[in-house]
Subunit: 359 residues, 2 copies
């Protein structure tokens, strides 16, 4: 018998839970001041979009752990709370990275900055945008907690679920910090790969896949063995997901990703891929690569040369092998899980969606 709810049905219910939560917040804000709508409306718009990857994985984790979504409809609120945590992370990330666009639209802080500038308000528009964006992210974090704690699931207060929820939030913040630190501080090429893998693990692999999967599973009633088996599946899948992201950041098709060609090279991101190239290059070329990476005056020709070096050194091929190895690990772990055939097929298809994607 099949147990996993199909993606479209999950997303529909998560979207409904999100909309309900944000409407309730908007109503309570309207009672405080009409101006408060300026805070909540951009959040509603922002959270209306998104691939809902983490919500879906949370939901499926719940079902894989033995939870029954029909008996405990509050799982929709838990999954929505994960999306609100993600919204907070993205809204703050765009300030941290000084990035003005997200999902093809102005980032939340950029929208506030523009509103300030267009209305000719007093003070510095950029500072206002940063401030409003910080508050908007904080509010998403708070609303995430609200919707989580009121989800009404039977295992919400069980130590395993509490611990998973705590690790989820806490580790992504450490990952975020390790990321900005890695981008700023000098690092030996030999260390770069390890440091970049740390960031990849905590900022993305665990956060995007392993944590939502295990949080859901703990709430669904999974025992220790089941949680360990799911971690065997979730962590390599998360790694493969993020490694693909890093590859698309350099070699992605701008038409599909919506980002400029070689965007991560332009931004100087120190990724596993870049680290792998630096260790393979002769010292002079490595020094050139490291120095020009992220340079303000980096030319298209230089980006082209960097891309060629990533290929000619074999760094890209080795990187693809890593993605394949992590994907294979995830697939093997999946094969060990006791699943109905339709559920297995659904998860196999989702693995491909996360690891073979072009955007």
């Amino acid at each position: 018998m099949s147990r996993l709810t199909p993606p479209a049905a999950v997303i529909e219910r998560v979207d409904a839970a999100l909309a309900e939560s944000l409407s309730a917040a908007a109503d309570s804000f309207a009672a405080i001041s009409p101006s408060a709508a300026e805070l909540i409306d951009p959040i509603r718009e922002f959270t209306a979009k998104g691939k809902r990857i983490r919500a879906l994985i949370t939901w499926w984790g719940f079902e894989l752990g033995g939870g029954d979504a029909a008996a405990e409809p509050g799982i929709a609120r838990v999954a929505a709370s994960v999306e609100l945590l993600h919204a907070a992370a993205l809204i703050h990330d765009d300030i941290i990275d000084d990035s003005d666009t997200r999902r093809g639209r102005p980032a939340v802080h950029a929208a506030h900055r523009t509103a300030h500038a267009e209305r000719g308000w007093a003070g510095d528009a950029a500072l206002y945008g940063t401030g409003a964006g910080i508050i908007a992210g904080d509010l998403c974090l708070s609303l995430s907690e609200e919707i989580y704690s009121s989800a009404g699931l039977s295992r919400l207060a069980e130590p395993e679920a509490v611990r998973r929820h705590d690790d989820f939030r806490r580790e992504v913040m450490v990952g975020q910090f390790l990321d900005i630190r890695l981008q700023a501080a000098p690092v030996e090429p030999a260390d770069l790969i390890d440091r970049a893998r740390e960031v990849l693990t905590y900022k993305s692999a665990k956060y995007s896949v392993e944590h939502p999967l295990l949080l859901g599973a703990a709430l669904g009633g999974a025992d220790e063995d089941q949680l360990a088996a799911l971690a065997e599946f979730g962590l390599p899948l998360g790694r493969a997901f993020q490694l693909r992201d890093d590859e698309l950041g350099v070699f992605g098709d701008p038409q599909v990703t919506g980002k400029p060609a070689g965007d991560d090279l332009r931004q100087g991101k120190k990724t596993v891929l870049v680290g792998s190239a630096l260790t393979r290059l002769d010292p002079d070329t490595a020094a050139w690569f490291a120095e020009r990476l992220g340079a303000a005056d980096l030319t298209d020709a230089e980006i082209g040369r960097m891309e060629e070096l990533l290929i000619s050194t074999g760094a890209l091929a080795a990187f693809e092998e890593q993605i394949d190895a992590e994907t294979t690990r995830a697939e093997s772990a999946l094969a060990e899980l006791p699943l109905a055939a339709t559920d297995r097929a659904l998860l196999e298809a989702y693995i491909l969606r996360l690891t073979r994607r072009a955007a």
Copy 2:
């Protein structure tokens, strides 16, 4: 029989709960990466100080509501979680206000910015400081949730407590937003007082006194009537507390407050006091006051003139009357509460401490 724990004993136990929580976080971070200490250490330092006003009020609210701190020692964790929420608010507030010092030391984001600059790291030091400060505040929010949800109090999941906790976090963020918006957007002098009172109510009065008091009380088992009676005490006390803060922001002794003379005038803060002056001035002088308020080239002589106008128009005297009126309301509400004589004396002394302070 006396019920309220004396301040020193409360603070000792809250400090211990805070230290324990942050040590546990530091340990878990050390397992991830040695660099993560750079994120947690400034937070530990930052939270080691503070007046613990909100922790104390939370604790006393619990006891006033009928809670027994000996039977439920987890109240120390709840009070510590309130302090961590406050730490998050202050860390983010200093970025939002572009303020480099806090409690006589560098603000968290400023310390990260300085560390970046001193080590000659890559990229923009200010952006790094902002990013690290945002993440530090987010982490405090998360740790606040962790310590709260694991406090183990018997009424943690009761709807009244959940609702109070939700309102607490949510409304301070709305207050923060209304504050930056008020400072930025043009506002008619006639409206300024109402808008400034909105900010004062949500960003400070409710957040600093009413919410912690009622959260504690709900966790202690207070019924609806008791909660209403405590609100009658907490909201005016919170208002008087913040009104005094606004007065000290203009007339405070720099030697005692640690802030420059006339700091709020320099920063152009639109407070109830300023609003009151503007409505009392003749149009030309009001226009001058409004225009020069917060001007980058504001002189000491101009600040002196503004202070004189606040006095000569009667705005300051009316403002003092407001503080007295709110204080009297709080005292009258306190007189209605059924309390042991020693508890009443303790709370009366604390009212004075919050409303008659010089810093």
